[in-house]
Symmetry: C2
Subunit: 530 residues, 2 copies
């Protein structure tokens, strides 16, 4: 796993993924070198027809936009009748996205963009080899307009608010693009195509689509499959006729980022039954294999983002990210991000803490302190950066329990909907930042993750960005993403009594039925907790 | 023939044509009424997918532009889930050009535009019936930037000049569109598609394409087949996603206006050999039938536009348009445009004068006054509006003779190129304003037109506008126009010694070989001129 620190970014944004796949480059753009016969009295066809004929052999339905046609006479003569055409793929046809003098086929770049609620990552991709040449990451400038999605949807439901959100998204994305251009000496015309993966709300904001109904029953957004727009339409700072493809989503809460993640995992192509989980402020979950796919989503609560916990904080420098508690001495060891003096507790530290408190016998399986206390001190005031004790409270534990309960309830809901027991899950994929940073053992211990052979538990890293890259460089993968999005059956948990019932009943650590967590049971046995 | 006088326009611009054909409406745009099921928890697909599904049944490769997608949520709800989609045809696919609440299928309008060097005519077409509902005509505002094409090409070869020419063309066209919209109470969003027919230079100016090489050997323009652009790209003041199709041209001097004219005449579908002639400042000529088509073009000279003749003037009020001379008394009768006192002589009056002078024995077959005089008075000073004699001079006759000679030479060049004698021509089509107004008998008498049975001589009126209308309302006709343009073999006369030789030798009235003009020979015989 490769992480990257950017100026002004304490949070190590995940920019690489574990599942880089090789595909034959056949992507969203193509560069073609043309040797055009110069005009003569015997052949005085027009410039347009000359270029079109050079392209038509392998392209059907080629579209030549007016602004590029205007450049034909000068580019053809500047290149002495040798020119490089950049073609962008728009669904079932090609559009000429650029014409350059001479042979520029060796420099052919695309962008894969993971547009997250909190962070945005842009990958510079060599369209010839499919490889990532560079990465830029930053916080979504929309944060200033609302920390969480719900606030932003409310903002975006008014026209001026939507304009501001769109502007903020474009400022962020275009800032990253310009960073990549500068660092890699790519001229403004140098990007041939882009693919964006994001959740349904983020895509609505970026495209200026009314998001109001994303959070209003019956949760029918403006678009789940926006498809492909020109960069000019979409507002991206790459050549205006370059195609910008948006990964298709499934519903209001299962967006293109999840479809991209599934695509990157490849679970939709295998017979084994897999569970894909992406937990953030919202949690999304997909269960299935090559024959069927079911999905659901819901608010996971802010526990993992450190938003509510007493000493909670974002995963920034000074956040405790790993915790262990010696069962005998009760002594706490911890690791902070960046090795700084501890300032608070981020999501992964919280999960570790709960698991360690459980295994140390300090809390019981219902998440309560056995001795009735209301908090537990992880770091004494003397050792902390704030000069105050860093403690984990009963409220912190209850919040995390609620998140875990929501994830468990959603999983049980999905399993029940396809009539399978939990043991049927053969592989587990953890996507996104939390999937990357959450301690696997602890997540299983508290029952947030299923108890599988650890070799069958895969951290995908930035699978949303990786899915975008695959679609960028492979039209086969693009079709696969669209088919896959169409195959997912989405269950709307907001509307389900069954889910609520399961949610209420799923707050035991790791689960009411301990037999579903054999490795945790074993740990309990070792520690005499059974 | 229907003519129309517009405010500020003395010249009766031809707006109607003789060859209005019926075709089943299947044009460049389509309106579809959609009843979309409203969303529910059981079916909460997005607005986009709801509309796309309603359209996808009969459309493949439908494109939904971002600006229209943005209107989906409000339009769907405003129309209470009944909406009218306007689809524009772009080559092999449909693009959504508009979405309106409710059922607006009964109001479906398109525009056929004849973009001439001097005059521009816009036809408002009912896309349901194919009928012309209204017409607007005006002078091309580019005249202020250069009266003739060559001056404008020079102006347009500099970037700022090209911008001015484009602006002038758009001001003219958009002015006519707004006139049609106002007079017919059509809202700005009410136009679904447009087709433009114009010569190669006019299309270059309108689209902002570098025209420099149109008049430089080897006469290879930027585009002969610009194809279809969105109104937004092209700059037309109709909805930005409405398609604007440009009739394909053949070369620098045989443009989309001529292809439109051929299409309107239907000569390309019949076995009989036809000659199509469009004479203005430039003259274009097409010879052929359904199996083959040859064309050429050249400067016809300003004689017919009254630009050079001593008493010459444009075909405006007070211009003498018909002349007859009594062979016995030498008395002149004449008709003026608008019935006003005569102010000068326009092209049709000049042709009539030459024929009548010839038949009255006043000039000989080489176009010279028999008695050696240098001019002939048509109207004495006392009867004229200017207070001066209106005369026709030897110079006037020589200029017209040059025009006639150029037309003859071009025709002979074409006939020779396909190995046919003049007698092989079975039908004659006169296109454009001059074709409409030139007196048929006199044009044959001086040898400008071939000597055919008069029932086989057809005035097409504004065949360029009519061809545009056909393409607007019929995709079959659009394909026909493209095939037809591809079938025409163009001969570049500028590069031909043979043409020059014929030109020099073709100044006899009506022709060196009188047997080619049997009806004129008969007139000569009657008058004792043989």
């Amino acid at each position: 796993m490769k992480t990257r620190k950017r100026e002004g970014l304490a949070h190590p944004i995940i920019v690489a993924s574990r599942c880089r796949r090789r595909v034959k480059p056949d992507g969203l753009s193509r560069k073609v070198l043309l040797s055009v016969p110069p005009p003569s009295l015997a052949d005085n066809r027009a410039d347009r027809e000359r270029v079109a004929e050079g392209l038509v052999g392998n392209q059907v339905g080629l579209e030549i936009p007016l602004d590029i046609l205007r450049e034909f006479p000068s580019v053809l003569r500047q290149g002495n009748w040798q020119v490089t055409a950049t073609l962008g793929r728009y669904r079932d046809r090609w559009r000429l996205a650029g014409l350059e003098p001479g042979d520029t086929t060796a420099r052919h770049f695309g962008l894969a963009i993971d547009l997250g609620t909190t962070t945005v990552v842009a990958y510079l991709v060599d369209m010839g080899t499919g490889r990532v040449l560079d990465t830029a990451a930053g916080y979504n400038a929309q944060i200033a307009l609302g920390e969480d999605i719900l606030t932003r949807i409310q903002t975006g439901s008014a026209e001026t608010g939507l304009l501001s959100l769109r502007e903020a998204a474009l400022v962020t994305v275009n800032g990253l693009i310009s960073q990549l251009a500068q660092n890699n000496h790519i001229p403004p015309a140098g990007f041939a195509a882009a693919v964006v993966a994001g959740n349904t709300s983020m895509i609505h904001f970026l495209l200026g689509l009314d998001p109001a109904r994303i959070c209003l029953a019956p949760y029918s957004p403006a678009a789940n499959r926006p498809g492909c727009f020109s960069a000019g339409e979409a507002g991206l700072a790459i050549p205006p006729n370059a195609p910008v493809y948006f990964l298709p989503g499934v519903g209001s809460y299962v967006g293109g980022d999840i479809v991209a993640g599934i695509l990157a995992s490849g679970l939709h192509r295998r017979s084994e039954i897999s569970l894909f989980v992406d937990i953030g402020t919202n949690g999304e979950m997909v269960l299935g294999n090559r024959d069927w796919l079911v999905a659901c989503a819901g608010a996971a609560g802010p526990a993992l983002e450190g938003g509510v916990a007493g000493a909670g904080m974002r995963a920034e420098a000074g956040a405790i990210e790993r915790v262990s508690i010696d069962p005998d001495s009760g002594r706490v060891s911890y690791v902070t991000i960046g090795g700084d003096k501890p300032r608070g507790l981020c999501g992964s530290g919280l999960v570790d803490s709960m698991a360690e408190l459980l295994l140390a016998g300090i809390i019981d399986r219902s998440g309560r302190f056995r001795d009735g206390r209301r908090s537990f001190s992880l770091v004494p005031a003397a050792d902390s950066a704030t000069g105050r004790d860093i403690t984990i409270t009963q409220t912190d534990l209850n919040n995390l329990l609620r998140t875990k309960g929501a994830v468990n309830a959603a999983l049980e809901y999905l399993l029940e909907s396809v009539g399978l027991p939990m043991q049927a899950i053969e592989r587990f994929y953890a996507a996104g930042a939390f999937g990357q940073y959450l301690p696997l053992e602890s997540a299983v211990t508290i029952g947030l993750y299923p108890d599988l052979d650890r070799r069958r538990m895969v951290r995908l890293g930035n699978s949303s960005g990786e899915g975008a890259r695959l679609v960028l460089i492979s039209r086969r993968k693009l079709r696969e993403a669209e088919e896959l999005a169409g195959k997912i059956t989405y269950f709307e948990l907001n509307a389900s009594d069954v889910f609520m019932q399961k949610f209420v009943g799923s707050r035991f650590l790791p689960h009411t039925d301990l037999s579903l967590f054999p490795s945790v049971r074993e740990k309990f046995a070792k520690r005499g907790l059974l």
